[in-house]
């Protein structure tokens, strides 16, 4: 997660998809620094939670729905359609996943999630692309309608059925398999090395075992699918003809049209795929609670939207943003000292970033992180944190990183622009 700090401004399509040598080296350096800090923080703050497999497992599971819904947003926004309706699509996803899952089991729940998202994606595409209505209005309306409809329809469909009420669907029987890496985290009934490492209590070894084990043990297949959607999307975006047209539709639709591309079809596809993904994220939540629970999206659609912007409309950025969020959320749910440990890590990273920027001569860019870092150090040392603060951990951390990162946001140039079907003038 510390890598976010180095996350640079949006670049146009990468010349190569896999990170280059140099990028790998910097990545590795930051990962090592991060790991070192975690080890130190664990002892300084006396917080075993910071490197515990449970925390890292939670972080992964909390990251996934945000990452997926943000990727869904990426689809439509990269095509030029602002998607404020992600929350609504996600709600649609949870509802339909509840229905499908109840009727036909967990796999169907995932399909149902997609269907639920698609229903609102269709609406959005129709209104925004075909009719050219204001995309903010449509997005806001979709959120309001989805919430209202979910309850209204739950009253009709789930209420009165055995095990269902207006606020939840009957329980979904069965669950999807979880997997682990053989011999590392006990996948397929093999030996679980990381668990032994974590239990050993040895410095470095235990932490490594905790982190790796947490990230790889008993990972649900939905999470795997969800996370795979990120590189898959990156591939589609940068390496397929559709991806090129998709980006062009969001940057300069008139250019696409003039070359014979179909802007509307591209936008339709992007919005539909995106809404399906938002719905899928809803399905993911439903499989965790083994059923639809009203309001269970809990604003994750909006967090997804924030993550999408945080990630600068890039799949990699979305991944970093959502992991940052998911990790701090997991930490916030844990014991107070774990949160203090995170504070410590952030403080040190900010100071390092600040100092290195100042040494490189970027005085103005260096001051903010340095000051923030020093303040955090002081807070860590002298200020008892109010217990309630932990619930805001992910928001505070994200905000702090935004203040420090200094990313130049580069939204798709035609984001929000209506592109009429006929007589289009650029």
């Amino acid at each position: 997660m510390t890598d976010t700090i180095t996350h640079v401004a949006a670049r146009p399509s990468p010349t190569r998809l896999a990170p280059g040598r140099a990028a790998l080296r910097t990545g590795l350096r930051w990962a090592l620094l991060g790991f070192g800090l975690i080890v130190i923080a664990q002892y300084v703050a006396d917080a075993p939670g910071i490197a515990a497999s449970s925390t890292w497992g939670s972080a992964l599971r909390l990251t996934v729905p945000i990452a997926i819904v943000a990727m869904g947003g990426l689809y439509s926004e990269r095509a030029g359609i602002i998607n404020v309706g992600l929350e609504g699509m996600m709600i649609g996803g949870t509802w339909m996943a509840g229905l499908f899952g109840w009727l036909w089991g967990p796999w169907a729940a995932l399909g149902g999630g997609i269907v639920g998202g698609l229903i609102f994606g269709l609406l959005m595409a129709l209104l925004c692309i075909e009719m050219g209505l204001n995309q903010l209005i449509v997005g806001v309306s979709i959120n309001v309608i989805a919430a209202a409809l979910a309850r209204f329809m739950a009253d009709i469909v789930f209420n009165g059925v055995d095990g269902g009420t207006i606020a939840h669907s009957p329980r979904i029987g069965g669950s999807l398999p979880t997997i682990g890496i053989p011999f590392l985290s006990g996948g397929f009934g093999t030996f679980d090395l990381t668990r032994v490492m974590e239990a050993s209590g040895l410095p470095v070894v235990a932490q490594l075992g905790g982190i790796v084990g947490g990230l790889t043990r008993d990972v649900s297949i939905t999470a795997v699918i969800g996370l795979l959607l990120i590189p898959a999307t990156a591939y589609v975006l940068w390496r397929t003809p559709f991806g090129l047209r998709w980006r062009a539709a969001g940057e300069r639709p008139a250019a696409l049209q003039a070359l014979g591309g179909d802007v509307h079809r591209t936008r339709w596809l992007a919005v539909l795929i995106g809404s399906g993904m938002a719905g899928f994220a809803g399905g993911y939540l439903v499989l965790i609670s083994q059923g639809y629970v009203e309001h269970q999206t809990a604003g994750r659609g909006f967090i997804g939207l924030a993550t999408l912007i945080f990630g600068n409309w890039m799949p990699s950025g979305v991944f970093l943003g959502s992991s940052l969020f998911g990790f701090s959320d997991a930490v916030g749910l844990g014991r107070p000292e774990t949160f203090r440990a995170l504070l410590f890590i952030l403080a040190i990273v900010f100071v390092v970033v600040g100092v290195s920027r100042i040494m490189k001569g970027e005085r103005r860019g260096g001051i903010a992180p340095l000051v923030l870092g020093v303040v955090l150090v002081l807070v860590f040392l002298f200020v008892p944190l109010p217990s309630g603060l932990a619930t805001a951990a992910p928001y505070l951390v994200t905000l702090a990183v935004l203040v420090v990162a200094g990313v130049t946001m580069r939204p798709p140039a035609a984001l929000g622009h209506v592109f009429p079907r006929k007589n289009a003038r650029s």
């Binding site: 390496r239 003039a258 014979g260 007589n423």
Partner: protein, 517 residues
């Protein structure tokens, strides 16, 4: 001339927008291997006709024949398949995408699951090399200058194997050297058997490079000429009922008082090669100081620095008073006026009516500002005055700026900026993309303001304009002034040499520059 095969024939093309007839029974025939120029005033219907040929608009009547086969294009794609390619008047490039991506867009090599990136880049690179275009295929379009962008547009056409290449006002934004290489490329296309349809408001180049000329007025074809048998004067009289723009040699010399002065102006972050490097100059009352230079050599930065829109080192003074510390608003209040490079980008708010546009820059004082209030009637009166005095046609104060033609938009801006009786005018490309009627009008206004004592800094890519209007010309190259010339004693060729760095009066400057890189 040998009789050539007919490649394109348009017959009786009619196009209506609502009740307005943009093309009225137009006939046009283009022969293979020729450059066919189309001229006509702004709004005559040239672009519309070309869009019809390129499949972007459907004609209401009439037929299109390509190589004798009648076609009806339902989409740009069908036109491309038939060999028609168009370079739009306003570039249609996605800024955030790379050059090769812009070129192959919608005709990507590879399969649906895999874009053949390497192949695409190679192909585009080869095309560029074959046509003598020096563009980096991996460059992001955002970082390119106008000339390079235009080459990308042409690459798009070539990539699709067009045999009928439409260039809609390609030279409006090019400096002479760039234009020359464009003409060379055009020749190469025609020699390879393609036809070029070429729209321009610059009659000289039309006469020089076209094989045939068609004149359009108000949607109708009003004449068809061979360059050898006609003159600019005749073409102009066919197009519009105004005289060619011309400037009388000035009788009175400019005044002595210095109204605008820059000292050591430098723009650019520390540690980087500055975009504007230690530039000093002065403009006297009643003088027009021309600035020549290939686009991207610091002229834009100079304007922004003078206007106070970018952080710059050095000093700017207006009528002797140092304004370096003042905001744009204060500088304008102190008598600075500005005709921007790109009227759509920062000259007008296209989605607002002329009334509001007239108030731009005048919003700090009466009659627009009354107390804290925005006076609608005051602004409307200003707009009325500009419209009347500068002969802006196309609407009244409540007309949206976007619905005015380009030339009229330009006249409106000139009128707005001169209307406040400024002491200093910074004017960039004041007649870019404007028909000759409007051009005459704008020139006349600039001269008249000059004679009233206005000091003008005139930046233009049109060297004829520079030479005709300026009292002195300074040349920019790589952010510095490399020469100061007397327009009466110099010609476009010499200017070009300075502009491209072949000549320089700045001692040791080229070496300096090289060292800096």
């Amino acid at each position: 001339m040998v009789e050539r095969k007919e490649l394109v024939r348009l017959t009786g093309i009619v196009k209506r927008f609502g009740t307005f007839v943009a093309n009225d029974r137009i006939d046009l025939s283009v022969k293979a291997g020729t450059v066919h120029a189309i001229v006509g005033e702004n709004g005559a219907g040239k672009s519309t006709l070309m869009k019809i040929l390129a499949g972007e608009e459907n004609p209401d009547e009439g037929t299109i024949e390509i190589e004798g086969v009648e076609r009806s294009f339902r989409s740009p794609r069908e036109a491309q398949r038939a060999g028609v390619g168009i370079v739009h008047q306003h570039f249609l490039l996605a800024d955030a995408l790379r050059v090769w991506e812009n070129v192959v867009l919608a005709d990507e090599p590879g399969s649906a699951l895999r874009l053949d990136t390497a192949g695409a880049r190679r192909r585009v690179g080869e095309l560029a090399a074959a046509n003598g275009f020096s563009v980096d295929v991996d460059a992001v379009v955002r970082d390119l200058g106008v000339g390079a962008r235009q080459r990308v547009e042409i690459l798009k056409v070539l990539y699709r194997d067009a045999r009928i290449i439409i260039l809609d006002e390609p030279t409006a934004v090019l400096v002479p050297s760039e234009a020359q290489s464009l003409f060379a490329a055009m020749r190469a296309f025609t020699e390879a058997g393609a036809s070029v349809i070429f729209i321009s408001h610059k009659l000289d180049e039309v006469l020089d490079f076209a094989d045939e000329i068609t004149v359009i007025r108000a949607g109708e074809v009003v004449g068809h000429r061979m360059p050898a048998e006609t003159s600019a004067r005749e073409l102009a009289s066919l197009m519009v009922k105004v005289a060619m723009p011309s400037v009388e040699p000035r009788i009175e010399p400019p005044g002595e008082q210095i109204v605008l002065e820059g000292r050591g102006l430098t723009v650019g972050d520390e540690g980087e090669v500055p975009a504007l490097d230690d530039v000093s100059f002065s403009v006297r009352a009643g003088e027009i100081l021309g600035v020549a230079g290939v686009e991207g050599n610091g002229q834009s930065e100079l304007m922004l620095a003078l206007l106070g829109r970018v952080a710059a080192r050095g000093t700017v003074s207006v009528s002797g008073a140092d304004v370096s510390g003042l905001s744009t608003e204060q500088r304008r209040g102190g008598g600075m006026a500005y005709i921007p490079e790109d009227r759509h980008h920062d000259g007008l708010v296209l989605s607002m009516p002329l009334r509001e546009n007239a108030a731009l820059g005048h919003h700090t004082h009466r009659p627009v500002k009354r107390g804290p209030w925005f006076s609608r009637s005051g602004a409307a009166a200003v707009a009325e005055r500009i419209i009347a005095r500068f002969d802006v046609r196309g609407g009244g104060p409540m007309t949206l700026a976007s619905s005015l033609s380009g030339g009229n938009q330009q006249k409106f801006i000139v009128g707005r900026e001169l209307g406040s009786d400024p002491r200093v005018l910074i004017a960039a490309h004041p007649t870019r993309g404007v028909d000759i009627g409007a051009q005459s009008a704008v020139w006349a206004e600039l001269i008249e303001a000059r004679d009233r004592g206005l000091g003008t800094l005139l930046i233009s890519a049109d060297l004829d304009e520079l030479l005709a209007l300026s009292d002195r010309v300074i040349v920019f190259y790589r952010g510095t002034i490399v020469g100061e010339l007397d327009p009466r004693a110099t010609d476009a060729e010499t200017l070009g040499e300075y502009m491209t760095g072949v000549r320089s009066d700045r001692i040791a400057a080229p070496i300096d520059q090289e060292a800096a890189e």
